[in-house]
């Protein structure tokens, strides 16, 4: 069966206190720390979603990186295929700390629920009203090959009209996200080489 080739419609980087859409800076924070950066980014991107402040860092990062790509996206059958290295370890450590000492045993449901990496997919789905396919993969390093094959398979198998793919990782104060939308039409032809190139150089 022959399938039409797909394209990368748009892409977004979040790193070093900046948010870049299609390679151009749309927000830059003077503060380098995550807390200030994420708060200011939320306001500057005009996200209007108060649940944001209850989220863990991974979900906040995924929300910020997906906002510029999804805010004016009319297609709702858009699969979410995200990946990272540290899963939800940042929040896992917090939960673990809360249960270590029997004298100070205080596990919190509000923390525990974020000890799964796919929660950030749920948060994106709620914000943008997406009842679509969700998958969260964990790799040692960015894996363009599998993201490419899986997204192509979802589109060719009619499981989605578009796919939001990418990498969203935070671990011990380090954070970084690179998300992109695969669609029928777009700026670049969807290829493993192009995905890797965009990932490395915003």
């Amino acid at each position: 069966m022959m399938h039409a080739s797909h394209h990368i419609q748009s892409y977004c980087h979040v790193r070093n206190g900046s948010v870049l859409l299609n390679g151009k800076t749309i927000f830059e924070s003077a503060a380098s720390d995550w807390k200030t950066f994420s708060k200011t980014a939320y306001r500057q991107l005009d996200m209007d979603h108060s649940k944001f402040f209850k989220m863990d860092t991974l979900s906040k990062l995924a929300m910020i990186a997906s906002e510029p790509l999804l805010r004016s996206e009319p297609e709702k059958n858009i699969a979410l295929v995200l990946s990272n290295r540290a899963s939800s370890l940042d929040t896992d450590r917090k939960h673990q700390k809360s249960i270590e000492d029997p004298e100070l045993f205080y596990p919190s449901p509000a923390v525990f629920v974020y000890t799964l990496p796919n929660i950030c997919l749920g948060e994106i789905s709620i914000k943008h009203r997406l009842f679509s396919e969700n998958s969260f993969f964990v790799f040692d390093t960015f894996n363009a090959d599998i993201l490419y094959d899986y997204a192509t398979g979802l589109l060719n198998g009619n499981s989605a009209e578009k796919v939001l793919c990418g990498w969203v990782d935070n671990d011990n104060e380090k954070y970084g996200a690179f998300l992109y939308v695969v669609a029928k039409n777009g700026i670049f032809t969807h290829s493993k080489k192009r995905i890797n190139q965009l990932y490395r150089t915003p």
């Binding site: 899963s87 789905s125 009842f131 969700n134």
Partner: protein, 382 residues
């Protein structure tokens, strides 16, 4: 489109070291759940099922490895070794490996655990499994809450259809840990007695532990008598709440609809449902709504949580494997723990294990993050 099959399989569980012993016990309606006191996990007694540590260690010694492995690695390695041995599959570039887990080696975060924190990275777990068997591709770890096990089968199918692989070994596992139990306890979701899915007096879930694996393949020469074809699969988010199920069963309903559409089957052509049925009040109610919206309220249905408990990242895979054997044996397995319907919509809960000619079954799962997955299977020889 070529057919994709589930074939050779293994379950390492509280029942023993293979699928046959688990299925035999389920057939006899014997649960693997028991109430235990383990202060390392929770200061109150818990109801759980786990592989016996002595039996596990003895069997693992048979794999003749000198390297130290965590309990979860032991479970997964043992299960995969049995599946690979039965399949006699040469490991080539076209054989993939997918690991389905929610928390992996999360127990290494405990201060007294002898392994380094590095082992908590899921990629490190994948690497251990990959190198042990000499897989030529990196492991793909799927961590998508409680739908991971069914979704892993869907991912394997899609990657085979896409040409990435010809065969994929899918393995799933999660441990019964203080980390997990304290969290569910904080949610007040745990039952301290064997769970009772869909029952009027259900009080919550039990967490259980298994290692399970299955060979997903397009090669008809590799099929077993319980092999099934994956006719359709879909995964839809509720877009509603991250820790509570949708009141309308939206994501589950949509998943079932899409999986059925893809399978080409009508609801009345589904012979049985292996549902998620965690025995929490909200989950089971949500499922009853979704199944009725999908015109499946009269289809014989069970939850296997009353046998194993909720085995998290393994559960969807484990329950699919049991479903394969149920099909091959033309048997509806009783939904253990159920007595009186306790959901607002009618469901046909299987109350005793009976023989019935069968061709197809539907597997569903739902989880935190609002995720839902449904998959339709049919006997491979039909």
């Amino acid at each position: 489109m070529s057919a994709i099959y589930l074939s050779h399989n293994n379950i390492v569980s509280g029942y023993g070291l293979d699928s046959a012993v688990a299925v035999e016990n389920i057939r006899a309606e014997k649960t693997a759940l028991k109430v235990v006191s383990d202060n390392n996990i929770l200061p109150v007694p818990i109801c759980t099922s786990r592989p016996d540590t002595g039996i596990l260690n003895d069997a693992f010694e048979g794999l003749r490895t000198k390297a130290a492995h965590t309990r979860l690695e032991q479970l997964l390695l043992l299960s995969i070794s049995k599946t690979l041995h039965a399949a006699q599959l040469p490991i080539t570039k076209k054989v993939g490996l997918i690991i389905s887990t929610t928390k992996g080696n999360i127990d290494v975060l405990e201060p007294q655990n002898p392994f380094s924190e590095k082992r908590a990275y899921l990629g490190a777990l994948g690497y251990k499994i990959k190198t042990f068997f000499g897989f030529q591709n990196d492991a793909i770890v799927l961590s998508n809450a409680c739908v991971s096990g069914v979704l892993a089968i869907a991912v394997a199918k899609r990657l085979i259809l896409q040409g990435t692989y010809d065969h994929v070994v899918v393995a799933g596992g999660d441990l019964v840990t203080k980390f997990i139990l304290s969290g569910f306890h904080a949610f007040q979701a745990l039952s301290n007695a064997p769970c009772r899915p869909y029952d009027k007096y259900r009080t919550g879930i039990n967490i259980g532990e298994v290692g399970a694996s299955v060979l997903v393949t397009k090669d008809t020469a590799l099929l077993t008598e319980e092999a099934v074809t994956v006719l359709g699969e879909a995964s839809c988010n509720d877009a509603n709440h991250i820790s509570g199920p949708s009141r309308t069963g939206e994501g589950l309903y949509r998943s079932i609809r899409s999986a059925l559409d893809q399978s080409g089957l009508r609801p009345e052509e589904i012979d049985s449902i292996s549902a998620h049925g965690t025995a929490t009040p909200f989950n089971d109610e949500m499922e009853a709504i979704a199944f009725n919206r999908a015109a499946l309220g009269e289809t014989p249905l069970n939850s296997l949580k009353g046998y194993f408990g909720h085995t998290l990242g393994a559960s969807g895979l484990l329950e699919t494997i049991v479903g394969m054997h149920a099909l091959a044996q033309n048997t509806l397995f009783a939904s253990k723990g159920f007595q009186e319907l306790g959901v607002s919509q009618p469901l046909h809960i299987i109350t005793e294990t009976v023989k019935r000619p069968m061709r197809t079954f539907l597997k569903t799962a739902s989880g935190f993050g609002g995720c839902n997955t449904a998959a339709v299977f049919q006997k491979a020889d039909q």
